[in-house]
Subunit: 354 residues, 2 copies
Amino acid sequence: MSAPVLALVGATGAVGTVMIDIINTRSTVPWGEIRLIASPRSAGKKINVRGQDLTVIALSPEAFDGVDIAMFDVPDEVSAEWAPIAAERGAVAIDNSGAFRMDADVPLVVPEVNADQINNRPRGIISNPNCTTLSMMASLGALHREFELKELVVASYQAASGGGQAAIDRLYAEISALAGKEVGVVAGDVRQTLEAAGLPISDSPFPAPLALNVVPWAGSLKDDGWTSEELKVRNEARKILGIPDLKVSATCVRVPVVTTHSLSVHATFAREVTVEAAHKIFEEQPSIVLVDDPAAKRFPTPADMVGEDPTYVGRVRQALDFPNTLDFFVCGDNLRKGAALNTYEVAEELAKRL
Amino acid sequence: MSAPVLALVGATGAVGTVMIDIINTRSTVPWGEIRLIASPRSAGKKINVRGQDLTVIALSPEAFDGVDIAMFDVPDEVSAEWAPIAAERGAVAIDNSGAFRMDADVPLVVPEVNADQINNRPRGIISNPNCTTLSMMASLGALHREFELKELVVASYQAASGGGQAAIDRLYAEISALAGKEVGVVAGDVRQTLEAAGLPISDSPFPAPLALNVVPWAGSLKDDGWTSEELKVRNEARKILGIPDLKVSATCVRVPVVTTHSLSVHATFAREVTVEAAHKIFEEQPSIVLVDDPAAKRFPTPADMVGEDPTYVGRVRQALDFPNTLDFFVCGDNLRKGAALNTYEVAEELAKRL
């Protein structure tokens, strides 16, 4: 076929901006037209893509005419309405929202784990996983191929930017309000200092102070005290890895980091695992960087890895008391591999198959 | 016996200062003399204790003459040398360092869990657990009595103050240097901004930036990639709970919180557990405060609990895929229950038995 036409819906949002940076720096696909789509209020804005100033056009059914692949970086309800319209108009929609992830007729794809699912798309829609799930999927997928994953206990250290630009702005504002103050030593003094600085928690996207604190909450409340984020980790990991009975417990915690999610992972396999074998698997995986030399104090930290494409894995240890089990720590940029990059990688794979 | 004589060794340190606050605010024991002991360079300093200005005296064998109970809040090597000397002079030493915790002839005591071990002290020394272990011991001890603990997977969110005053000062300095700057968006920009502000990581007690970051490292490197802190959690939990074959995996991570450690706990028991039963047990335990109403966004966060005596438990969930298993989140002030308070509570129990 001729050079495929790529549309980006949500071109002016936080993830859309990262997506344009990715489109500008990766030359893997010789796209034909690149079309930028956003809400009517952003229409007319000009954005430089691959050296050309493109004009953002308003979201409409006609906007998808002639599009081969439409990437959606918009809220759930916008995707729920518009991805099927894009598909009707002949595009394959790759959706980064939560709208279709658990739809049995929509594959949930991490290319290095289950690229084979891309062609299995009866609705013309492919879904991109949640950023927290994605941060550990490359490493778990690689280990699963070799050792067969059975159980997963995960605790997250999630960055503010998972809550969008307002959440990033709030974290910066809190840091500035607390700078130079010896707070964090009496219950509630951080909260009171923020209030005194005109930053009451009632105005925050977070349910508690985030600076000089950690908040064991992300997403919304679901049954039995679980959060939507914790259930996404469980259900999406099962679907992506193709293990419907994978045992998963996740606790999701927000930390005062701007961008890049981290996860402490305790993973149990059907077969014997060693640190050496895991290291070899991680080193062979192009989308993983192994940073695991504790004698030299080398391990991944989110501030050292943010903005990078790979996920970073370190602190790999064989569990002392659990058979066939590894403990490790992983960091992945939630806006790149956790969102825009994986969506784009799916588009790349799809372009090969069109 | 007459009113017992209490000595505090390390009276001028970070934990010693919290200890004096505790001595001043708890009237459970009618102590006779209270003797403050520190290094020779702190000798002569005056500290107000229960309304009287006491003069700090220098550490010496004679300093322990007439002392019934000597609490040690000093580095491992000081305790290793001086706790046995205190015991020789007739005092019972309660040591908050790591020097004696795994000594088979030294009990490791959390009063609400294993107060019965206090009398079993052939060396005249009682040990106080590591702060990370302690933060979860009241909750796990209470659950273990009812359901019999078998397995534990833990991820920590540890405060800076676990590394002493220099670590607290470093975190404040980093926050001030980063305030007003949009960092944390490109790999290494936090590190570079700190360096430019005269705060290179080589001068830090932490092996990476702590502000706007998390660092998967606490303690020193032991065999097979495990840290001393992670092994303490395992070995001390086994000893305190009296479960020599308890299965434990811990990953210890430092977070930019001033004081109060948090832990994500995945605990598997021999018998069936429910959230309701766990709530009841936590509510009945005087040293625990249950904060678990997610619909009202109520859960423990370290900045909201710092400086308080109890440990705070919330996010209690029944594991969806693991039988007899609870997931929960716990916060405990690492300088109070995690250090000074537990030592003092052991002294209170001991005073009853003298």
